[in-house]
Symmetry: D2
Subunit: 154 residues, 4 copies
């Protein structure tokens, strides 16, 4: 709702910045995650099932849900920051709603409140089995914007 | 404090149960994590640095901190459950306190309140560089006990 | 979404149970809160502004937002429990999004996931000034159902 | 641990600033709360039992625990800010560990990580019955410092 306001003053390079940053996250590669959708204030990340991502019942591990929802929240915030800035996760909370049993895990995040220094984001995680998606986790995250801090390693 | 009360009625096979369950978690293997300490109500998990575990500044990704702290909380709870049961994470919240820059990430969790159905756990994550540990994250988690539910995949 | 499933098997006395329980909460009276809307899985609580509810800038104190959102989440869960049961809040997390400056504080909560033992609820708090509502807080809460436990003091 | 580092650079007027701010919080007066201990990075708030503070079983309402733990966290942070600044709560999460049945509710908070913009605080709530204290809640909170923002209403 009211997403249109998010578009004003959006850095035109936001998508490139997000993709470049994501590509530098070794963990996202290691999990097999990719950005599936990207617009100002909204990011979707998907990761296909494999046995390297499981907990003891062979479902997706909650750690995977947490990691991709956190990245989706952080990048949703990052779409709304100025060029030459960086973001970091201050904190998040995740509720696990259902076993993550399926072929693909999907995290969808959006910015709920876009402050200058802090952006509050909500993320939801769905597990897809065939054409059915089950809502398996929900996250609230606080992301901090660091203007003038490079997004690359020193 | 008062950890001694935790020992009473502890399943004597608790350590074997935890190690077996941990070995079935594909994600823990994939991250290179291992259980370093294990006692009733307390678990320590360690994971050495490698580039597959990084965020964009080459520090450990918050998703790794979240995953190992969650597993440490869950297994701390699992040490206090009866044989033949299983646990699942209901929710957790994590605050990231400092960049996780170092050679090894260490999650230490303990049970704060051991109810019959729910166990509330606290986890702290430290990053070690040489002999110095920096406190880089802190977690509160709610773990649910499922008596009579096997810890293995059906 | 899919709220209709919530109606099946709803205790026909749910509204009376909630109102009776709310009336026994001394704190809700002390804050001047009332239940403004009530349906299976959804509750709205409102409290008018007065100086007894403020923080140091004369806005509503975050403690009021937390208290009414927590009660709204708890009672949203309680609408879906069986007669003769009780609920308790296991935990909640709240993000404060904007100063709660206005004439009335409104908490709206709904059940996100209705498990047998645990119900996960989301609550949002709005502050009304004239006809404008501002989204000032968002909560995720875990509520536990206690079948057979009376909702009254012993 | 290492609390001594918190003392360096502490505003010598910190105690007066906290007491003045607390006195302006209408809610704290309305709940009957008082600051019982105050040092750099640490605050204790106490509130005696009365029926205006109860939930439906006549225990202290979780909203009271949340409100005084939030205030204790915020003021613990405020002790470490510069003169002429203000603080606000970004978010908190609280786990309720035991029924708050007793004569007095006590919230003790301390700063876990004192960043320039954000201070991460931990709070614990105890309920006292006679000489026995029971640990009934635990909180993690993120507090934001607003340098140059007055702590008074405009």
């Amino acid at each position: 709702m009211a997403d249109e306001y998010l578009w004003k003053d959006v850095d035109p390079e936001f998508a490139q910045r997000v993709q470049d940053s994501f590509a530098r996250q070794g963990l996202m590669q290691h999990l097999g995650a990719r950005i599936a959708q990207l617009q100002p204030g909204r990011v979707e990340i998907r990761v296909p099932y494999r046995s390297e991502l499981t907990q003891q019942h062979n479902y997706f591990h909650a750690g995977v849900s947490g990691a991709i929802a956190d990245s989706a929240c952080g990048y949703a915030a990052y779409t709304l920051t100025a060029a030459g800035s960086s973001v970091l996760t201050v904190e998040y909370k995740i509720n696990l709603l259902a076993p993550a049993a399926g072929e693909e895990l999907i995290a969808r995040a959006h910015v709920v409140r876009s402050g200058k220094t802090l952006k509050i984001c909500a993320g939801d995680v769905y597990v897809r089995k065939g054409e059915t998606e089950t809502h398996c986790a929900t996250m609230l995250a606080t992301i901090m914007c660091l203007p003038g801090k490079s997004d690359r390693a020193a």
